[in-house]
């Protein structure tokens, strides 16, 4: 398979400024990210024949982005949405389009602007960003549902975390280890919104959002945009940046079953998506050098590590302890700080950091090895999952470089 045009690589990465970026629309940020990614690859906008678009919380960027960018002759154009799993699904779709000969050069872009001046991150979510200020509909069965009080992701993920704690003895201090490790990585990421070091005690003292989740178990909310350019691996080799080869991809979806026997919250579709991607890549979990795992909450990282097979089910709490995921630990994980500490761009947070690490561009935070970089995306309430296996090396019979 080595060197055939059927394999794909990520050739360009574009990140706008992120965080409290006000006065710009999602579409404007998306257009900038695509321009940056194309330029990063050493290409021009006219080289694109594919564009895949992902909107975030605000859901206000779509296929009209093509016209904004002056792209009037595309072979592939679509809006993709599998919530937090979207980034991996988009790269897989781009790779499949390239392998099928449907397109040669596909930009994948995410943009979102849920934050407004003088509004808390929680309010950006809680008021329903589609219709800010509108009173919630309390008619019909929806009225009973609202009165359950379990109406936003914080609470629903907290229900999952509690279930894991009750079943396996997982503790809040173990979740804190994830937040602390990621913040230690973020200290060295100039793009990160939160760069002050954290301790487990800081995590424990942070206010309750939805017990068992503290504030520091929850991701940031950010405005911004990220894009990548995917092209054939052999073509990528002649472009401006070192190619980041796509070795494997997978996705799996498990809309929650609300019935006796359901494993919702304990087992996620990562358990199918991860092995599928690793099988395609010809690797096992022990080969992973860098894991960029979707982290809407600390708990998401823990349960994904279990479902990918880094440890047995129920042992995630012990696995993440003693600084295993921190700089200098045994597993380089969420090396940019993740969505907990760097920026919240859905699956483009782990994807963007994976590209940086695979290129060896991590600077002070560069992982000691980067031959195999695993990327996860998680959406819904642990219901949608995508996985990518990336590498600086061409796909094929792999020989690991010396440590």
């Amino acid at each position: 398979m080595t060197g055939t045009g059927l394999n794909s690589a990520i050739a360009g990465l574009g990140l706008t400024e992120m965080g409290k970026v006000y006065g710009r629309s999602s579409t404007s940020l998306a257009a900038e990210a695509v321009r940056l990614a194309v330029a990063d690859a050493g290409l021009g906008l006219g080289d694109l024949d594919g564009l895949l678009v992902s909107a975030g919380v605000k859901q206000d960027v779509n296929v009209n982005l093509a016209a904004v960018l002056g792209l009037h002759d595309l072979a592939v154009l679509n809006q993709v949405n599998a919530y937090g799993a979207t980034a991996g699904v988009m790269v897989a779709q781009a790779a499949q389009a390239i392998a099928a000969g449907a397109a040669t050069t596909v930009a994948c872009v995410f943009a979102d602007t849920p934050l407004k001046p003088k509004q808390s991150a929680g309010a950006a979510w809680g008021s329903g960003a589609k219709r800010p200020g509108a009173p919630r509909n309390l008619r019909g069965m929806a009225g009973w549902s609202v009165n359950s009080g379990a109406t936003n992701p914080n609470i629903l993920y907290a229900l999952c975390a509690r279930r894991h704690m009750e079943r396996y003895g997982t503790t809040s201090e173990q979740l804190a280890e994830i937040a602390v490790a990621q913040r230690a990585w973020a200290v060295h990421n100039p793009l990160a919104q939160m760069r002050e070091p954290l301790t487990v005690a800081d995590h424990q003292a942070s206010r309750w959002i939805a017990d068992p989740l503290h504030l520091l178990d929850c991701c940031l909310v950010s405005n911004g945009a990220v894009a990548v350019v995917v092209t054939a691996a052999d073509r990528a080799a002649s472009l401006a940046q070192p190619p980041v080869h796509v070795w494997g991809y997978g996705q799996a979806h498990a809309p929650r079953r609300m019935h006796a026997g359901s494993d919702w919250g304990l087992v996620t579709p990562a358990g199918r998506s991860g092995p599928a991607a690793m099988r395609m890549a010809g690797i096992g979990v022990d080969d992973v050098d860098v894991a960029e795992l979707y982290d809407c909450y600390t708990y998401t990282v823990l349960v994904t590590l279990e479902d990918y097979g880094f440890c047995a089910k129920g042992e995630g709490g012990a696995f993440v302890s003693d600084g295993r995921l921190a700089p200098g630990g045994k597993l380089a994980c969420n090396t940019g700080g993740g969505q907990l500490s760097s920026y919240y761009m859905w699956g483009f947070t782990p994807l963007s950091e994976a590209v940086i690490q695979a290129r060896g561009d991590g600077g002070v935070r560069q992982a000691p090895r980067n031959d195999v970089v695993l990327v996860s995306g998680n959406g819904g309430i642990l219901e949608h999952h995508s996985t990518l296996v990336l590498s600086p090396h061409e796909r094929g019979p792999h020989e690991r470089t010396a440590a």
């Binding site: 929680g122 009173p135 919630r136 019909g140 069965m141 009165n147 609470i155």
Partner: protein, 136 residues
């Protein structure tokens, strides 16, 4: 504002709220015999959309729970802190519900719970009666 924001019925929910006003918990049953939550549209065991109303016991067990400190909606601002829970009814379905617990720290997965019925809205402006749950 109340701990239980005012709920108005619509045509599709009338039978559910009529049952609640009588102190009964109304679910649905599919052709396979599976008992399903009120919002279900398909019996997953048979694939059928032909669901009939069924009154259930209101007895169940606690699957998971959360003590909510940050109100997710302005309508719930007066209610925090409150407990949201997943309960498993004796007949099988899982429900997302409000749990009235005096001692949230004493809750454990598997604990027995049962339905009780509370008014929504306020005395001046009453709404529909709502099923909620409490530890036995």
């Amino acid at each position: 504002m109340s701990s239980f924001p005012l709920v108005e019925r619509d045509e599709a929910s009338a039978a559910f709220y009529d049952a609640a006003a009588r102190g009964e918990l109304l679910m649905q049953r599919g052709p396979s015999g599976a008992v399903l939550p009120p919002e279900a549209r398909t019996d997953p065991d048979s694939g059928s959309a032909d669901l009939e109303p069924v009154v259930v016991s209101g007895e169940g067990t606690l699957v998971s729970w959360v003590v909510v400190h940050q109100a997710p909606l302005p309508a719930l601002a007066e209610a925090v802190p409150y407990v949201s829970a997943v309960v498993e009814l004796a007949e099988g379905p899982w429900l997302m519900v409000r749990l009235l617990a005096d001692d949230p720290a004493g809750l454990r997965a598997g604990a027995q719970v049962r339905a009780r019925f509370v008014p929504s809205g306020s005395e001046e402006e009453p709404g529909e009666v709502l099923p909620v749950f409490e530890p036995v």
